[in-house]
Amino acid sequence: MNRTRTHLAFHATASLCGGVLVAALLAGCSGEPAPTGDPALTPAAAATGDPAASAEPAPAPPDDTPSTPAAGLPPTASSTTPAAPAPAAPDLAEVDAAIAAAEEAAAAVGQSLSASTRTPTEGATP
C-alpha cells in the first residue's frame, strides 16, 4: 500500500516537472516571452520580476549624429551640435534708402543756405 502511494507521488511529480520543462523549451524556441498574465510587462520586467522596469525605455547610446528637427520646428541647441552658422546678413535695401535720403538732405541744406542769403534789402525809411 505504501509502495503504491509512493509510486503515484513519483509519477505525479515527474509529470509536473516534465510539463514545466516542455513549456520552458517551447518558450525558448519560439522567442516569445513566457505568458505572465500581465500584458504590460516587458521581457525586462518579466526577467527581473519588477514591473517598474518596463516604465522607462533603456537610454539610447550616445549618438554623434546631429538630430534632425521635425519639419517646421527650429533646431534645438545641443552640446553635440556643431558651431552655430554665421548670422544672416541684414537687408541692405534700407541702407540704400538711407543713403538716398542723406544725399537729398545734403542738397536741401545747400538750398536753404543759399536762400538764407537771398533776401531783399531792408531799405531805408524815408
Binding site: 542723406a102 543756405l113 531805408a124
Partner: protein
C-alpha cells in the same frame, strides 16, 4: 567865445548822433524827404504801405518754406510760426498808425518800426532758412546713423562667414567719423539763430554768419558720409 563853443559842441554831437540813427540802414541809402510837409507825409505813407506789403508777401514765402520742410522740430517750428504771426499782426498795425499820422516827422518815427521792430529780411529770413537747413541736416545724419548700424551688422556677418571685411570696415570708420562731424556742425545752429531778435541787429549778423558756416560744414560732412556709406555698401557687395 569859449563858453559858446562849449555849449555848441554837445549840441553838434547830439545832432550827428541823431543823423546816424535816422539813417537806417546806412546814411548813403537814406532817402531824402521832400521839403513840402504834405508831400513828405505822403512819401512816408507810400513807403510804409509798399514795405509792409513786401514784408507780408515775404512772410508767406518763409511760411511756405517752413511748411514744406518736414524735418524741422516741433519747437523750432513753433518759434518761427510765432514770429510770423507776430509780424503779420504787427506790420499792418504799423501801417495803420502811419496812415493815421498827420505830421511827416511823426509818420517817419512810426514807419521805422517796419524795419527795426521786425527785421523780416535780415533776421527772420536767415532764422527760417538756417533752422530748416540745420534740422534737415540733423535728420539726414539720423538716417545715416541707422544705416551705419545696419552696415556694421552686415560687416560682422560677413566676417563671421570668413570674408575679408577690411575694406568695408575701413569705409565704415570713415562713415562714423564724418557722421560725427556733421552732427557736431549742425548741432545748436537752429537754437543759436532762433535766439536772435530784431533788436539785436546788426550785432547778431555775426551769429548768422557763424551759423551759416557751421551748416555749410555740416552739409559737406553729411555728403561725405553718404559717399562713405556707399563705399561700405560696395565693399560688402564685392565680398558677398
Amino acid at each position: 567865445m569859449k563858453r559858446t563853443i562849449r555849449r555848441l559842441m554837445p549840441a553838434a554831437a547830439v545832432t550827428t548822433l541823431a543823423a546816424t540813427i535816422v539813417a537806417v540802414p546806412s546814411a548813403a541809402s537814406a532817402a531824402t524827404p521832400p521839403k513840402d510837409p504834405a508831400a513828405c507825409l505822403k512819401a512816408v505813407q507810400d513807403w510804409t504801405v509798399s514795405n509792409v506789403d513786401g514784408r507780408l508777401a515775404h512772410l508767406d514765402v518763409l511760411d511756405a518754406a517752413l511748411q514744406a520742410a518736414g524735418s524741422v522740430t516741433a519747437a523750432h517750428r513753433a518759434a518761427l510760426t510765432e514770429s510770423y504771426a507776430s509780424a503779420r499782426t504787427g506790420l499792418p498795425a504799423v501801417e495803420s498808425a502811419v496812415l493815421a499820422d498827420t505830421e511827416c516827422a511823426e509818420a517817419r518815427a512810426d514807419a521805422r518800426a517796419v524795419v527795426d521792430d521786425y527785421r523780416i529780411y535780415l533776421v527772420l529770413t536767415p532764422q527760417t532758412h538756417l533752422t530748416i537747413a540745420a534740422d534737415r541736416g540733423i535728420a539726414g545724419v539720423a538716417r545715416l546713423d541707422a544705416a551705419a548700424l545696419t552696415l556694421q551688422k552686415a560687416i560682422d556677418s560677413a566676417a563671421a562667414a570668413g570674408r575679408d571685411v577690411g575694406a568695408a570696415q575701413a569705409a565704415q570708420a570713415e562713415l562714423l567719423g564724418d557722421l560725427q562731424q556733421a552732427r557736431a556742425a549742425f548741432d545748436g545752429v537752429a537754437d543759436d539763430v532762433l535766439a536772435q531778435t530784431p533788436a539785436g541787429y546788426p550785432g547778431n549778423s555775426a551769429v548768422f554768419s557763424a551759423a551759416r558756416t557751421e551748416a555749410q560744414q555740416g552739409r559737406q560732412a553729411l555728403a561725405e558720409a553718404a559717399r562713405d556709406a556707399k563705399a561700405v555698401r560696395e565693399a560688402l557687395r564685392a565680398i558677398a
